[in-house]
Assembly symmetry: D3
Homo-oligomer: 137 residues x 6
């Protein structure tokens, strides 16, 4: 424990070493996702159980079917993660998106839009484009 404090990187908390509070979140993740393994992301968050619980409950609520279907939500997640250069998030969420039905063609079109949006975002800033009157209200 004392040596862990000195380490630069956070430990991954395995199920067997987890507190009851953490285990109950892990159990809900595995039940909801119909899987028997826990991703490293959650094992890292388990270092701060309040963050683990709150993040899981928020994601579970946000990613559930609603006006947007779960696959569309995963595509949006990937769009943000590619924009932010988050390598872990691209890795884990492209796997989730594929599980929910994302084809190679859909990924290709998604990334084409993401690339173009990043390009035009920079162009709008670079040309200092003023917002059109009709978009102000």
């Amino acid at each position: 424990m004392k040596t862990m404090e000195k380490k630069a990187i956070s430990a991954l908390i395995e199920y067997d070493d987890a507190s009851p509070e953490v285990r109950s979140v892990y159990d809900d993740i595995m039940a909801t996702r119909k899987t028997d393994s826990i991703n490293n992301f959650w094992k890292a968050l388990a270092n701060h159980p309040a963050t683990l619980r709150r993040t899981w409950e928020s994601i579970k609520e946000i990613m559930a079917p609603g006006a947007l279907d779960p696959l569309t939500k995963e595509l949006i997640y990937l769009a943000v993660s590619a924009t932010n250069q988050c390598q872990y998030c691209m890795a884990s969420h492209s796997a989730s998106a594929r599980k929910k039905g994302m084809s190679e063609e859909m990924l290709g079109e998604l990334l084409a839009v993401v690339g173009m949006a990043n390009e035009t975002n920079a162009l709008a800033a670079g040309y200092r484009v003023e917002i059109d009157e009709q978009f102000r209200q």
Copy 2:
């Protein structure tokens, strides 16, 4: 012309002042989008006609229906623009998305996912989470 060089901000090129090359892009934008006005974004890009033409042709190709429908593509555009804090792009593309059928509820769910993805992107970086073996390949 000479005074424009001294200005800090780029001019907006109106249709009447545009070269034939720029006008033909404007014409295609208005025909494709079934509108008779041109957004400030395009009027600013018209300062560099090659960028105007290339950006328009790319967007026209990318945003067309494919494996993803045009509304989903607009949602992805908004996800990137909110992440990048691009105020112009949020303004113009939330208008386009509404035209293509985005309801308030869909916008709400979109932004909930965008907010959560930005949060977990930062958490993944902050905890320095290593990519799980099963996501490496």
Copy 3:
């Protein structure tokens, strides 16, 4: 003074209200840039004189002619500022760049590269492209 503490926005420190330490930086800025006015950026930094001095001295050193000429350095500044959506920085540095000789055509080509780089940065992250062996060393 006490009311300033309550304001959400930082005051702009005018020359006449400035301490001798701040004035000496203002004097050096005006002498170096051959102008008799001070931009709002410096007037805001003057709220923390150590930051004002250090930032000015760093910029003066960095933007001086070297292996890269001052105009190229301004173009690089603009590339970063457009990428970061920094509206103030685009406004002030596009004025500086124009003073140092940036034409509309150069601005157009600069922004075309900036847009494309932001697009391909997102594509590289989105496709999770592995670094080629020959670029590793």
Copy 4:
């Protein structure tokens, strides 16, 4: 093919496995760049041939000599890529920039400007600096 759909990471499409459409882009890349190898970036984009073709044609047009020379354009590319923390892009474009004549001293000055611009972008936002009257038009 079916197993590829299940993988979290995109395949790299080698020349021998590529469709005629992809091969013709690869051929043009190798002819234009006077090389006989294709970077992983293009091999990844080849998963979506329309993106491969459009991205290559755009880059070829944008990076060609114009009001800015090709080396200056590579420096701008690097400025954006360092700002975005795009590790792949820094790796591949610092190699291209060196091929086009970037010395260690030029890279050093480039990164000094990039670092300073990122610093002052954050300071301008942090101090909420209002745009000076003379930069508004």
Copy 5:
């Protein structure tokens, strides 16, 4: 309602127009913060009551005193907001931080660190610095 769908910008939901669900969140915000007004941020989130409730509950939990005191947490909030160029967030959170005791000197030192961190983040990416062996574990 129908006209709101057509607007590019989200409505701000005032207390008097709010549903009971939204009002109960507004009441809790005002009670917790010992104020009788609601910021525009919450009035905008009220367009999607689930996001309003979840975001408020998360912030209330996260910003409460813990191993870090509330002022330190506000400083961290400002550091992220300046980095992201979020103008709204800088405006609202610099007011909150001042209420919790942030002096001009503390803001100055905060922004000096934020500026420097953004600079060295770009330098680390630009020089492609490899992580030291002792920081890997």
Copy 6:
């Protein structure tokens, strides 16, 4: 030397190979930090001695005790680095922060705030929230 020019990655300059100018900075780093090793970050910056010297002197000044204590400053550094997805900076500065007294609980609370700030920054942009009158001045 000549071959180094051809490499895509910058060399790390070891003490024994360093110029007197670089060595004197290394000596000051080791004396100030009471350590006998130099991190890769500084060894990479040593490729451009002016950047090495200026960056070190700036950091030494900025991170010194003031209105904010050194640990708070490290937390702010980490907040920026997680937001920017700077893996090197998270690695090196989480080690520094731990040395200065950051506990696992403090890191957990820090990252919870960082995550939430990144979320609400995106929400503020996404909902295009207008700055409240009382925050404008």
